[in-house]
């Protein structure tokens, strides 16, 4: 993302500096709850559950506490494995379905492609709550309650419209001449995809996959309704670290850091691309 300088041209230097300082203050204040969560995760419960303390003896014990597995309880390892499997498999299926669909909407558009695109995006407007009762009943009747499969199917459905929408805008940026040249050489859909489209749109595909991963990793509603016992994912594991008796803030913070770290790191690394993808997905 490039910054603009021309607005600042002719502005006095101190005005410019003041805006920069303000941005820093806003950023730090805004980030404070996250900073505090990380700090609390290295405290003892005693240090965390008192009036806010900046200085303390840091310890990794809370991380040991929350990753320790106890029989009969959802362990960190189980939840993490379930989340990883559900997120990765559903994202792969999303891409496998969305890439050809985006091709049919962007490169060799079907008749009335705009209506189709709108249909996809309009399904995002249907609140999940409207679907949960039938989904719960269908899942129960099909024996899918408390399985990873039900979440894989649902997360594929949740992310597919967004993926189609974003991939279409990335595919549109590929120069048409390249695709036409490949066609003249006799490449079919598969050939065009592997030789031109996938390599050229790789950054866009990565950004799309990342957003799918973020939404699936953070999803709680379907997970807690359909998989409260077995096949539970990380968000549910986080909530198991709240206890009704005794202090738990430091433990909860450690669990929260572990739960958020994969997605936050990925988001930080890919932020520029993701911002562009979101903006294009939304605007283009």
């Amino acid at each position: 993302m490039r910054g603009r300088t021309h607005l600042a041209v002719g502005e006095r230097r101190w005005v410019h500096g003041a805006f920069g300082l303000m941005a820093w203050i806003v950023g730090l204040v805004y980030f404070f709850p996250v900073f505090w969560m990380v700090l609390n995760s290295f405290k003892s419960e005693q240090d965390a559950n008192t009036s806010p303390k900046l200085f303390f003896h840091p310890t990794l014990d809370r991380y040991k506490d929350v990753t320790k597995s106890a029989t009969g309880l959802l362990s960190f390892g189980e939840a993490f494995t379930n989340s990883a499997v559900v997120v990765i498999v559903s994202t792969i299926i999303v891409l496998a379905l969305a890439i050809p669909a985006a091709y049919a909407l962007a490169i060799r558009p079907v008749h009335k492609w705009r209506d189709v695109l709108f249909f996809f995006i309009s399904t995002k407007f249907l609140p999940v709550v409207a679907a949960i009762l039938p989904v719960w009943i269908l899942a129960r009747n099909l024996g899918l309650l408390n399985t990873r499969n039900v979440l894989i199917i649902l997360y594929t459905g949740l992310n597919l419209p967004l993926a189609v929408w974003m991939l279409r805008s990335f595919f549109r940026e590929i120069p048409r001449e390249l695709i036409e040249a490949a066609e003249i050489d006799g490449a079919g859909l598969k050939g065009q995809l592997t030789s031109i489209i996938l390599p050229m749109a790789a950054p866009g595909i990565a950004a799309t996959a990342l957003l799918c991963v973020i939404f699936a990793w953070n999803e709680f509603f379907y997970a807690v309704q359909l998989n409260p016992v077995k096949g539970s994912t990380v968000p549910i594991w986080v909530t198991t670290n709240i206890s009704t008796r005794g202090d738990f803030l430091a433990k909860l913070s450690a669990a929260s850091v572990l739960a958020c770290i994969p997605v936050v790191l990925a988001g930080w690394i890919a932020q520029k691309r993701m911002i562009r993808g979101l903006a294009m997905g939304a605007i283009k």
Binding site: Y103, H111, F125, L126, V238
Partner: protein, 306 residues
């Protein structure tokens, strides 16, 4: 007569038809998957909402027509949930939009550490909603040890039990915090697509920065603001996670989606009634979505012309 026309039409359109099917083929798996997964439950929901089906106590499913909808108006629990839903959508959307626009304006100029500040600002959007709710409840809002109460006490006030005393506002604040980055990103995209030459020309003509902002930037940002409002509304009208972990429902925090949950698989087991609530959310969403699609359609047309 009809047969002749049909054969004629088939003959004329045969070749384009196979070509158009060849085009459609890559689209079909995604389309079918989406139709089955979204429309089937939706139609089932409509059907449930026309019955008096309850699971506990078990009752035979009986068709009752629109009776469930007729009862909505007099159901004060539903009215409360609908009112909470409106508050928990409008306040966070507008709050996040205003803050997001302000942050985007700050970030849209070069300064030392710009990238780092942007990273700090987008982080809440990446956090798990469940974690956001729990962390705010237990470390920021906590009645004894919360950071906010620490500040209030330093300023000479007395501590407040934010979550139990002001559940709507506590949840709204958390939602604003999490959704501001989303609005900021949309606004940044808008700011950065401003044609530089027009701004330059205005400056050459001697326009003040404030006049440029008011007359050029704001009008350019308008479609982006509309888009932010519409997308934000559609997501926030469905909020469940933060309510579940912060209050677990209750006066002032049970919105319609949470109410549907409470009245059905959350213990109420009245599937017929609960479905009628969710259809109301759908209808509200469809109204908003229609407006949203019109805005998006305008933007797409612009793209096609370009």
């Amino acid at each position: 007569m009809t047969t002749t026309t049909t054969t004629l039409r088939t003959r004329i359109t045969r070749r384009p038809l196979s070509e158009s099917w060849r085009r459609r083929l890559p689209l079909l798996p995604a389309l079918l998957f989406t139709i089955v997964l979204t429309q089937v439950p939706f139609v089932m929901s409509i059907w449930y909402s026309l019955t008096d089906w309850t699971i506990v106590p078990p009752s035979p499913r009986k068709f009752v027509g629109l009776a469930n909808y007729g009862k909505l108006a007099s159901d004060h629990f539903f009215r409360d949930a609908a009112f909470t839903s409106i508050k928990l959508t409008v306040v966070p959307v507008l709050g996040a939009l205003i803050l997001g626009a302000a942050f985007a304006l700050l970030l849209d100029r070069k300064f030392f550490g710009q990238g780092l500040v942007r990273t700090l600002l987008i982080t809440p959007f990446l956090l798990m909603p469940v974690v956001v709710g729990l962390i705010w409840k237990n470390q920021m809002f906590h009645g004894l040890y919360g950071v906010l109460n620490w500040i209030i006490e330093k300023l000479g006030g007395s501590p407040v039990e934010f979550v139990s005393r002001y559940p709507t506002w506590a949840i709204a604040l958390v939602l604003i915090w999490q959704w501001t980055p989303f609005m900021m990103l949309i606004m940044l995209a808008g700011l950065q697509s401003q044609p530089a030459d027009v701004l330059e020309a205005a400056k050459v003509d001697g326009a003040t920065p404030f006049a440029i902002f008011r007359q050029l930037t704001l009008s350019h940002l308008r479609p982006y603001m509309e888009l932010g409002i519409l997308l934000g509304t559609i997501y926030l009208i469905q909020v469940y996670d933060q309510i579940a972990v912060m209050t677990g429902g209750g006066p002032g925090s049970t919105n319609v989606p949470y109410f549907v949950f409470q009245r059905s698989i959350g213990g109420g087991w009245a599937f017929g009634r609960a479905s009628s609530y969710s259809i109301v959310v759908v209808v509200a969403s469809i109204i908003i979505a229609t407006i949203a699609l019109r805005v998006l359609s305008g933007l797409l047309k612009g793209e096609e012309a370009a």
